[in-house]
């Protein structure tokens, strides 16, 4: 426990000094506000740009607040997610590769504490960014389109955070498993490309952690989704399993640290 506290402070310090706690939330806030504002002013933007042929009219759909939040989720799922998991995918093996981890590995530490110090910091960063991102999106959506049920909104954000925890856990597991930057390749294949595959052929199955983000937003509109709870549960179970595998490989691959 003491080792965890010391290492957690070290990880926090690293993220703080590299300004991750500044630019990661800013990225999510930016992604969060872009959709409500862009969509609201789309007509004005098109008129201002001109170039439309005479008599050409576009009818933009009337968006409901839930539609805007769904669009914001799409932003988080593509750009935000990639940035987040790529950072997580380098957390363990980069230190081993450049040799800085050596001074920690030769000391009487538990590798579970080492793993959790990294897991805690990346997820603190992730959850903070997601909450601020959704908060910003909701703020402008509320001003421009109207509000949603606050309790449902909170439930949706919490549910999305479970997905994000799952994603960073996978990235961290790959980071512990692979000795090189291969971890980033695998992470990108499994997560952002997984999301892509999900959106293309996802109609063939109903329960999968990759569906959790979509189901989270649907909480706002659909009253009952029989697969939601199953998906949530499966995601949590998978996260726990991947945490255990991550700890195992953190210990097993400790000897690959550059001496």
């Amino acid at each position: 426990m003491r080792t965890f506290a010391v290492l957690f402070q070290k990880e926090l310090r690293e993220s703080w000094r590299s300004f991750k706690f500044l630019w990661m939330p800013l990225l999510f806030i930016f992604l969060g506000i872009s959709d409500p504002i862009m969509n609201y002013y789309m007509e004005d933007i098109l008129n201002a740009v001109g170039n439309l042929p005479e008599g050409f009219t576009i009818t933009l759909p009337d968006y409901a607040p839930a539609d805007i939040l769904l669009a914001s989720t799409g932003q988080f799922q593509s750009i935000g997610l990639i940035v987040l998991v790529v950072i997580a995918a380098g957390m363990i093996n980069r230190e081993r590769q450049n040799g800085t981890a050596l001074f920690i590995y030769v000391r009487p530490i538990s590798f579970a504490a080492l793993y959790f110090s990294k897991w805690a910091v990346i997820n603190l960063l992730a959850v903070l960014s997601v909450i601020l991102g959704y908060g910003a999106s909701m703020y402008y959506t509320a001003i421009l389109y109207g509000t949603v049920e606050p309790l449902l909104f909170i439930q949706m954000v919490a549910s999305y955070c479970v997905w994000i925890l799952f994603a960073t856990t996978i990235a961290l597991m790959f980071s512990a498993m692979f000795k090189t930057a291969l971890s980033i390749t695998f992470t990108v294949i499994v997560l952002p490309i997984g999301v892509l595959v999900q959106s293309l052929i996802g109609q063939f199955w109903n329960v999968s952690p990759w569906k959790l983000a979509d189901y989270s937003v649907q909480l706002l509109t659909q009253s009952e989704n029989e697969y939601y709870l199953k998906t949530l549960l499966l995601t949590i179970i998978c996260t726990v399993i991947f945490i255990l595998i991550g700890i195992l490989f953190t210990r097993k691959n400790a000897s690959s640290v550059k001496v």
């Binding site: 003491r2 080792t3 010391v6 290492l7 070290k10 310090r13 690293e14 000094r17 590299s18 450049n98 040799g99 800085t100 050596l102 001074f103 920690i104 590995y105 030769v106 000391r107 009487p108 530490i109 400790a254 000897s255 640290v257 550059k258 001496v259």
Partner: protein, 294 residues
């Protein structure tokens, strides 16, 4: 006392360390000597608990978790560039079990000891090579370990830095047992109780410097003449077994004969101009070459 028995390490089919055994007395200073690739770093890594041995054991009298009693300095220490010197030492001290309050004090103390007092609040990214080596030593000794493992502690430094680090280690030796690897033999010659010569993962020779010297010394007298012809002339004339190398003649001593006096007497009666006569001794470097070369 630390006992290493039959230590072996294979990487796949390749045997990097093979059946290495030695003991380190408390407070002793031992050098691992060997050419590149002899397995020095692998042995140190196994002692530090970073690598699991394929076979054999490392035992420290009366201690279970050996990681608590070890300080380790790698050959090329890499530090977190975003930490200051004192923050880094504080972190390592805490991880070694020093209380949060004591860690800061110990860190400042040890940084002063290694001569980094003025740089403790600088980021380690700004440290020079010599300063990094000192910082590396500081993290290795901050928790006062019983065994200090140093991998090439001075090889990357200039002569001045080398001297300073060796002096630091001398001061340290009163407290800890030190095992260090090197290929710079002058360092080893100076202050080592025990030498372990490694070759292709095996200990090929061990003992104190004097013991090894006696073993490998070929007793001979070296005579330097003014010219090549004179050397050849003396060599053909004398009754002792000799070997000629340019203007130098080696006279081999067998069963204490010839003595220095006998050779000098002979020389003073000869017409050749002598520049220098001495009892020849092998330097550590020559012994090293003898021991490790095939």
């Amino acid at each position: 006392m630390i006992t290493v028995q039959h230590l072996t390490k294979n990487f796949g089919a390749q045997t990097v360390v093979s059946d290495v055994s030695f003991t380190l007395e408390d407070g002793s200073f031992t050098a691992l000597i060997g050419p590149n690739g002899a397995g020095k770093t692998t042995i140190l890594s196994m002692l530090a608990g970073l690598l699991k041995p394929t076979g054999g054991s490392v035992k420290m009298e009366g201690i279970k978790d050996i990681r608590k009693e070890i300080g380790f300095l790698p050959q090329y220490p890499q530090f977190y560039p975003w930490l200051t010197g004192v923050e880094f030492i504080e972190l390592t001290a805490k991880l070694s079990g020093i209380s949060a309050r004591g860690a800061r004090k110990e860190a400042e103390k040890v940084l002063e000891f290694v001569g980094l007092k003025d740089a403790i609040h600088k980021k380690t990214a700004q440290y020079s090579g010599g300063m990094k080596q000192r910082l590396g030593i500081a993290q290795a000794i901050v928790h006062k370990p019983k065994l200090l493992l140093l991998d090439e502690p001075v090889s990357s430094l200039d002569p001045v830095g080398r001297r300073e680090i060796m002096n630091l280690l001398k001061q340290l030796q009163r407290g800890s047992t030190i095992l260090y690897s090197t290929h710079i033999l002058n360092d080893a010659e100076e202050m080592t109780d025990q030498l372990l010569f490694l070759k292709k993962g095996k200990v090929v020779e061990k003992g104190s410097l004097n013991e090894i010297r006696e073993k490998f010394d070929v007793p001979r007298i070296r005579i330097q003449f003014a010219g090549v012809e004179e050397a050849a002339g003396y060599s053909s004339q004398t009754e002792w077994p000799t070997e000629v190398e340019g203007n130098v003649v080696y006279v081999y001593i067998k069963d204490h004969f010839p003595t220095m006096q006998q050779v000098m007497g002979e020389l003073s009666n000869s017409p050749f101009t002598v520049v220098k006569v001495e009892r020849d001794r092998l330097s550590l470097e020559e012994i090293f070459m003898k021991v490790v070369s095939p």
